[in-house]
């Protein structure tokens, strides 16, 4: 079967610095792929290139048969089919949790108000926050805000979800509730591309782990293999170091 998301030879340069030096990989339907690597390696830039929040310099991206990198492609339609969860949540602070989840349905999907509301409520329920529908982001904990952000993506019925270090801005005691939601999504067969150093999540949910460094993929494989017998020395060193930090 064709991969859902196909990335070929992705390049991106900011000024003199080459952030991505030719990244290629496939994401198949229902797969969870966890991307790891030292900071400044281009993991976030890569995610941003994939829905062209950042315009890649070179390379080809296709999502479910749609050429994302084709300039004639309706990029807003592509973005609407990709759930994007940010490190810092980026909820709309002037809107309640319900309105945060509903806004994409109303403005992008053009659902009528009743159906949008009903769907938004179901999504909040799915992330365990039905009771917080009327709360504003500033009234929620970081973990709750991130779950609302996930619900905001889920409402759009995405083909794939991107997570950009979804727990890095959270206190350790709040990461669990977010990871739990992500675990459930993985179990339900959501296709996910996750930039994260959560080893526990990677072991539990990842079908594959990609280790990136200096704008390149160093090594890619199932978690068992990467954790126990990495081919590259750098992979082993890095994984041992973050394991020690945990």
């Amino acid at each position: 079967m064709d991969p859902l998301l196909k990335i070929e030879d992705l390049h991106k340069r900011f000024g003199a610095e080459e952030i991505l030096k030719g990244v290629s990989f496939d994401v198949h339907r229902g797969q969870t792929i966890v991307v790891m690597g030292p900071s400044g390696t281009g993991k976030s830039t890569m995610l941003r290139c994939l829905n062209r929040l950042v315009e890649p310099d070179r390379g080809r991206i296709s999502l479910d048969g749609v050429e994302v990198t084709d300039s004639h492609t309706d990029i807003n339609a592509v973005r609407a089919s990709i759930g994007y969860v940010f490190q810092d949540f980026h909820l709309f602070t002037h809107l309640t949790a319900l309105d945060n989840v509903r806004i994409g349905l109303l403005k992008v999907k053009r659902l009528d108000r009743d159906r949008a509301t009903e769907r938004a409520r179901r999504m909040l329920e799915r992330v365990g926050l039905a009771a917080k529908a009327d709360a504003y982001p500033a009234e929620l904990s970081g973990g709750q805000q991130q779950r609302v952000a996930i619900a905001r993506c889920l409402a759009m019925d995405p083909k794939v979800m991107f997570f950009d270090e979804p727990t890095s801005a959270l206190d350790p005691e709040l990461t669990g509730e977010v990871l739990q939601v992500m675990d459930e999504l993985a179990r339900e067969g959501m296709t996910m591309l996750v930039v994260s150093h959560e080893l526990g999540f990677a072991r539990r949910a990842a079908h594959e782990i990609i280790f990136m460094e200096h704008g390149r993929i160093v090594e890619q494989g199932p978690p068992d293999q990467l954790f126990s017998q990495p081919r590259e020395q750098r992979t082993g060193e890095f994984l041992r170091r973050i394991a020690a930090e945990e």
Binding site: A77, V78, A80, Y84, F86, H94, V108, Y136, A138, M156
Partner: protein, 233 residues
């Protein structure tokens, strides 16, 4: 002056207030002009491509850099020379409105830029168009953030409406003149009365704006000055 003077001012008060309505009409015409153009200029400066952004900056630079009286004369005499038949009222409202747009644009630019960029990114990643992001995410937050600074501009232009006196509009200062020309000893009292009228008007306006700001406050997001100090104590 004495009691007679007070009585004379008292009897002129209805007419002074009546003349103030002219100022309020000028104000009501110039504020929407300044608001709409100001937001447009701010958006062009923040999101516009090079030529549009440069044009917006030139507009702002011109209207903030020229004295109000000069603008009034330029519009009042200049538009006529261009063959446009405009009333003194319209010339005044345009001159003062465009001038205010220069100031308001910078208030809105600051407010627009203080909406976290991450929210714009998040909205774009949902598939919203630029216009939708501006309408649904940026402006609702920016307009609320702009209220404190905007209340300054509000007070300034409200009082500046007295300047249209210079292009012959029969507003409150022109009427005041008729009082103190015939009774020079009442000049000070007349000025103080006009001062009082504007003091009341700006106070009312600012109180309304503060109430609006409180009403639009996002729960949990910002604790207003008074609440914050109370908590700190």
């Amino acid at each position: 002056m004495g009691i007679d003077g007070l009585e004379l001012i008292w009897t002129s008060l209805p007419e002074l207030l009546w003349a103030t309505l002219v100022n309020l009409r000028v104000f009501a015409a110039l504020i929407p002009i300044g608001f709409a153009v100001g937001i447009g200029v701010a958006l062009a400066q923040v999101y516009g491509r090079r030529p549009l952004a440069a044009l917006a900056s030139a507009w702002e630079w011109f209207f903030r850099g020229v004295p109000a009286l000069v603008l009034l004369f330029l519009f009042f005499y200049g538009l006529g020379r261009l063959g446009l038949d405009v009333s003194a009222f319209l010339a005044g409202a345009l001159a003062m409105g465009f001038r205010s747009s220069g100031y308001q644009s910078q208030i809105f630019r600051g407010a627009i830029q203080s909406v976290p960029a991450g929210q714009v990114t998040a909205a774009r990643s949902l598939g919203m168009t630029r216009l939708q992001v501006v309408k649904s995410v940026v402006l609702p937050q920016a307009l609320r953030l702009a209220i404190p600074a905007w209340s300054n501009e509000f007070s300034s232009v409200l009082k500046d409406t007295t300047l249209v006196y210079a292009i012959g509009i029969n507003e409150v200062m022109r009427f005041a003149r008729t009082v103190y020309v015939s009774h020079p000893e009442l000049a000070m009292l007349t000025f103080l009365t006009v001062a009082l009228i504007f003091w009341v008007l700006t106070s009312l306006g600012n109180t309304a704006l503060q109430a609006l700001e409180r009403r639009l406050a996002v729960p949990g997001f910002e604790v207003r000055g008074r609440g914050a100090t109370r908590d700190a104590r």
